[in-house]
């Protein structure tokens, strides 16, 4: 059976990685619960707990599987993933002007979240396939084509956040396989050249968000409101935070999307700079440990999987934290392991499972 776990594997479980993840999850649920103590608050926290439980089961399942098998099946996953994305754009549920969700029984699921994992597996499969050795311009073109399709679908949903996250993951994997900086630079230039095209694809509200990043007071009533309120929330936490009851910004609902994308602002207001330091340390620990696993792996597939997953974590957490603290424009990326949302939690834990799977099989 897949779930039969080798004792030797168990010895190699990375407790640091798991520990950091669990600390983050715990702080996230605490923040959700303290958002509105009472029926609504606790029901959100409870639902999140259910997803955490599901996610942990998925983590164990993924970790106990040999990632080689998963990479081997990557093309199939890829086709299924693109199919799901297509299904969403055809019959998905509209929420806040975007079709990102699919109904699975009573639950809604976001295929674009799952696609992040498929993307990583596909990259690992692609760059370790015999026909792509050594990586040539032709194989780079193949990559471009294979990744362009889902990227367009995701952008169309529109889910700018997911699309933007996939790019750094791709760059990290390209750097990892040793693509020359000059070639990367060329790709970058090409991307910049395509940007005006992307601008045309973007929805008005997405353009507005980018423009507001350049000039936050462009529209203090609309989009910039989020940025300003988040900054006030974080800043007013000061060194030690206001505690649960004093967090007026979060509690009084000034913060928009406070339980999803802006959950960090809630945490920062309640626990202050010191609390944030702990949380950021946990994220940094997770990311550094992920890179360490990548470095310590000899198997090329394991390397790329570990690198991709780590890059995904690093990008998501840095972009989300950067946007909430006003360093980056608001692009709607959830904070992994912390934001409220089932798909995101499930996929983040599955990604950790992949990382653990690589780690446990490092010394084969």
């Amino acid at each position: 059976m897949m779930l039969r776990i080798d004792r030797r594997l168990l010895l190699n479980v990375d407790w640091t990685l798991l520990g950091a993840a669990l600390v983050i999850i715990g702080l996230g649920i605490l923040s959700l619960w303290s958002l509105a103590p009472g029926r609504t608050g606790s029901s959100i926290a409870l639902r999140q707990l259910v997803w955490v439980a599901l996610g942990l089961v998925a983590l164990i399942v993924v970790a106990s599987m040999d990632y080689h098998t998963l990479v081997r099946f990557a093309p199939a996953f890829y086709v299924a993933g693109v199919g799901l994305l297509l299904a969403v754009s055809v019959m998905g549920r509209m929420v806040a002007g975007a079709r990102r969700w699919i109904h699975v029984g009573p639950l809604t699921f976001q295929p674009s979240e799952l696609f992040k994992l498929i993307f990583i597996l596909t990259l690992a499969w692609l760059f370790t396939s015999r026909w792509a050795q050594p990586p040539s311009r032709a194989s780079l073109l193949w990559t471009g084509a294979l990744l362009g399709i889902p990227l367009l679908l995701v952008i169309r949903q529109p889910d700018l956040g997911t699309a933007l996250v996939l790019v750094p993951v791709l760059v990290a994997v390209l750097v990892g396989i040793g693509v020359r900086l000059r070639v990367l630079g060329g790709l970058g230039l090409a991307a910049v050249a395509v940007m005006p095209l992307a601008w045309l694809v973007l929805k008005d509200y997405q353009r507005e968000r980018l423009l507001v990043y350049v000039d936050p007071f462009r529209d203090p009533l609309g989009t910039a409101y989020n940025v300003i309120q988040a900054k006030i929330a974080i800043g007013s936490g000061q060194l030690l935070g206001k505690g649960v009851s004093g967090a007026t910004q979060s509690r009084l609902a000034f913060l928009p999307e406070r339980h999803t994308d802006f959950i960090f602002a809630v945490f920062a207001e309640m626990w202050g700079f010191l609390g944030c330091l702990v949380l950021i340390l946990a994220y940094a620990l997770l990311v550094l440990r992920g890179f360490e696993i990548a470095v310590g792996t000899r198997d090329p597939r394991g390397r790329l999987v570990a690198l991709g997953v780590t890059a995904l974590f690093a990008t998501q957490s840095l972009v989300n934290l950067g946007m909430v603290t006003g360093l980056l424009p608001i692009v709607g990326i959830p904070l992994p392991l912390m934001s409220y949302g089932g798909s995101s939690m499930l996929v983040s834990l599955m990604a950790l499972g992949l990382l653990l799977s690589v780690r446990m099989r490092q010394f084969h």
């Binding site: 070639v183 330091l277 470095v295 690198l307």
Partner: protein, 604 residues
């Protein structure tokens, strides 16, 4: 050019180096973050803390103005005006008990009432809870002066219903009141919503309500608005063009002043309701402000039932008006002819009972026409026996009695047309000749509503068409787009031969113009045809028993009928003496010009 760099000997370390480079990039990102947090929370923290203290945002609903109702000539029947509403914002009531106490003293509202209102909503709600609508300017000034002592108390400006006079067309328009708990449970309304509870306001509520807007206002620590952050404009309710003629409605209400009863004015050509009154009425104004509980109890426990719409929710014996049905049935069926004569000495004996005429000594020799003109009971006792109870019932039903008129207002009573079958089913006893005698002059078990009588008169006036009484012409958005429109609808037809119609109209004309019972309705320059009725009250053993209901059912001009006027005065006495003069006033208002010309001619 090679895409991937290859340096022999370095292969093993190359991977580590590249990953380390990526690690360095990520680490720099985390360091930036910590730096930004240090800047925001420690360096700027004090300033942002202050900002958060002052950061108070209120989300205020902006009530949509309720749609306006117009009469057929474009005059407003009900409109809106801005009014002041006192509200609490639960979350901002810092010292709840002392703020409530102050408000209680200031505006003389019982403390317990305020507490009760707040108990219904969550204590941390930001949504204002309306405490009192329709504040006087004086009260507004009182609250504004003490604003600093009243955190969480605000005065909002909201549109409120305003009526031409406080009880104008009260039953027709209906009142608007805050939703009650029952209605909230149905889930369609939010607490504090104003909805139409009766009449047209209720019927058309969906159209009239519009959609509330909202705004997000930033306020300072004292609750003064600093800026409007976001505003969604309310969507005003749709306006309604009714069939009512405000002038006629007003005249009818004036004429009924001091009486209990109802006036219904219809257009017999299409069934339009031109006026419909019910008195005593209630003050619509009282509902829009805060109706005190005692006032409400007083209203619903009032022995005069002011909330009842007597035009369609009260049933009365039709009295002599029913004789028109008996005559129509008899003539059409052949059991009566215009030549039938009888001698009326004021008494009619049958089976040991004596039935009397209303006129002591009787009317002498009468034929069918004279019997209608003078409303001779003795003639109709005999006529009724000839026509028979089943035929009478059949014709009464054909004229729409004992059935719904189909008017859109709710709570319509059906009335009752007794027949032998009905009596057997209802009481298990056979129909007696005495029942026929009673029924033939509209007494006994017969019950009708003023609206039914009006429809019946309209059918006589227009040659047999029963219209559904139409109240609404159309509903249109403020921009003029028509959302709903209603055409006149025929719901039935009475088939009588032209000679019978002509006879009936002629007899009704005679009742007003040939010294008949309806003479008091006469208006110079106008031919009115009508029938009086005096209905004995259904015997109830209370003190109000005794006075009869006065009816007058009519149409004019007799040869080209344009309006039907039906008047019912509860406990008014004789129809000819009480109801007919009221109808006269209504006609004078409708045919103002014609009447004026006639008066000038006769004067000159």
């Amino acid at each position: 050019m090679e895409v991937v760099a290859r340096r022999p000997g370095e292969r093993k370390d190359a991977w580590s180096r590249r990953v380390l480079a990526l690690t360095a990039v990520a680490s720099i990102g985390f360091l930036f973050l910590v730096g930004q947090l240090w800047y925001l929370q420690v360096l700027e923290g004090g300033k942002l803390q202050e900002l958060s203290e002052r950061n108070r945002i209120r989300i205020r609903p902006v009530a949509a103005p309720r749609g306006v109702l117009f009469d057929r000539n474009g005059l407003a029947l009900v409109d809106n005006r801005p009014a002041f509403t006192l509200s609490f914002i639960p979350r901002e009531l810092e010292d709840r008990s002392s703020v409530l106490a102050r408000v209680s003293v200031l505006l003389k509202i019982p403390y317990s009432e305020l507490e009760e209102m707040l108990a219904r909503v969550p204590a941390d709600s930001l949504r204002p809870v309306r405490v009192r609508r329709g504040l006087s300017l004086e009260d507004v000034a009182k609250v504004e002066e003490r604003k600093l002592e009243l955190p969480g108390v605000i005065v909002e400006v909201e549109p409120q219903r305003v009526y031409p006079t406080s009880s104008f067309a009260a039953h027709l328009l209906g009142y608007v009141r805050e939703v009650n708990d029952e209605q909230i449970k149905q889930g369609r309304y939010r607490r504090g919503d104003l909805i139409g509870q009766t009449g047209l306001e209720r019927l058309l509520d969906e159209y009239l309500r519009g959609q509330d807007g909202g705004e997000r206002i930033e306020v300072d620590a004292l609750g003064r608005p600093v800026q409007v952050m976001q505003r969604a404009e309310p969507n005003p309710g749709a306006q309604v063009v009714t069939t009512v003629d405000r002038r006629v409605q007003e005249a009818a209400e004036r004429a009924m002043a001091g009486h209990a009863g109802s006036v219904v004015v219809l257009d017999p050509r299409n069934g339009d309701v031109l006026a419909m009154t019910s008195s005593p009425a209630f003050d619509l104004d009282r509902f829009t402000g805060n109706l005190e509980r005692e006032d409400w109890l007083r209203l619903i426990q009032d022995p005069k039932y002011p909330l009842l719409n007597r035009a369609l929710q009260s049933q009365y014996a039709p009295g002599s008006i029913y004789k028109v049905i008996v005559a129509a049935a008899g003539l059409q069926e052949g059991s009566l002819t215009p030549m039938d004569r009888t001698y009326c000495n004021g008494q009619f004996h049958m089976g040991g009972w004596t039935f009397k005429d209303w006129k002591a000594g009787g009317h002498g020799h009468v034929d069918l026409r004279a019997a209608l003109v003078h409303s001779c009971n003795i003639f109709f006792y005999q006529a009724g026996l000839r026509v028979g109870p089943s035929a009478m019932a059949r014709y009464a039903k054909a004229f729409g009695l004992g059935g719904a008129t189909g008017i859109d207002l709710s709570g319509e009573k059906l009335g009752l047309v007794p027949s032998p079958e009905w009596k057997r089913q209802r009481f298990g006893r056979p129909w007696q000749a005495g029942d026929t005698v009673n029924t033939s002059i509209g007494q006994g078990q017969v019950l009708v509503t003023p609206l039914q009588v009006a429809r019946m008169m309209a059918a006589i006036a227009n040659g047999g068409i029963l219209w559904k009484p139409r109240l609404i012409q159309r509903v249109e958005r403020v921009d003029g787009a028509v959302l709903y429109s209603e055409q006149s609808a025929m719901t039935g037809h009475v088939d009588l031969s032209p000679a019978v119609w002509a006879f009936l109209r002629g007899a009704l004309w005679g009742a007003v113009n040939e010294g008949g019972t309806g003479g008091a309705a006469r208006v110079a320059g106008l031919d009115i045809a009508g029938k009086t009725g005096t209905a004995q009250r259904i015997a109830k053993s209370d003190s109000r028993r005794g006075e009869d209901h006065a009816w007058f059912a009519s149409f004019a001009p007799a040869h080209d009928p344009q309006v039907v006027v039906v008047v019912l005065v509860e406990g008014g006495g004789k129809g000819g003496q009480v109801a007919a003069p009221i109808a006269r006033q209504v006609y004078q208002s409708i045919f103002l010009e014609r009447v004026a010309v006639a008066e000038i001619r006769s004067g000159g």
